[in-house]
Amino acid sequence: MERVPILKIGGVLLVSIQIDLQDQSVLALQEDLAEKISATGAHGVVIDISAVEIVDSFIGRMFATIASISRLFDADTVVVGMRPAVAITLVELGLTLGGVRTALDLERGMRILENIGRERGRTGLEAR
């Protein structure tokens, strides 16, 4: 099984999905992220899906699960880069991402996390 790498950039964990996700990889990513957020005290998670060609119900559910897990560690999650064809398909499939924040691209996603951090009285993207 292939694992999705998690990068730490300041106080943000960046997950860029570059592989064809099998269900085991999805479950492993959820676990790895929980570990990493708790170990690093990251305040944000960005999931970049610009290379992801399909999001089915299992993968879609992962976004909501990761968002819930990160909330437990006082971190926020943004999903960025969804392809238009994926967005159209998700709507028709009937999947709502359960209040997961999304942004058009990485830059906007990072800005959203910065703004949330500022509201919460954190300074920029530095690690806590």
């Binding site: 099984m1 064809d20 996700l21 099998q22 269900d23 085991q24 060609e53 399909i54 999001v55 089915d56 119900s57 299992f58 559910r61 392809r83 238009p84 064809a85 994926v86 159209i88 398909t89 028709e92 499939l93 009937g94 999947l95």
Partner: protein
């Protein structure tokens, strides 16, 4: 379009990574007949849901993918076969949001919305076959 001489292709669905291979095979076929990107994505997503059901509920099985033509139209047909427990109540299984497990119950109903033709054939104790078609527009 150049006519294809090779017939349907089959792939086993016995583990997680087989679901990925089924997605890739369906994608290849969809590209070959030049489905639009959105239609490719819809068909592959439907195939992913159905292949996972074959694995999780059907206890494994196989997928068959082929190019079909009818009335001058070209399309892709994908079917998913298992010899698992079957589905006792088809209309319940096809309802949005009904799952016998801990899924969201979107697989069957969602897959049906994503394709042009959908056929579910299941017999308790014998198994399940789900067939979908996406036509080139």
């Amino acid at each position: 379009m150049t006519p294809r001489s090779d017939g349907p292709e089959e792939l086993p669905i016995r583990a997680d990574d087989d679901v990925v291979r089924v997605r890739q095979l369906v994608r290849t076929y969809a590209q070959q007949v030049k489905l639009s990107l959105v239609d490719q994505t819809k068909l592959v997503t439907a195939a992913s849901e159905l292949a996972r059901n074959t694995l999780v509920y059907g206890g494994g099985g196989f997928a068959r993918v082929e190019i079909i033509t009818a009335d001058g139209r070209t399309g892709i047909r994908a079917s998913f076969h298992d010899e698992g427990p079957g589905i006792p109540d088809l209309s319940l299984a096809l309802a949005d949001g009904w799952s016998s497990g801990k899924g969201m119950g979107l697989g069957l109903s969602g897959a049906r919305r994503l394709v042009d033709e959908f056929d579910l054939d299941s017999e308790v104790g014998r198994g399940t076959v789900v067939m979908v078609v996406k036509w080139k527009r």
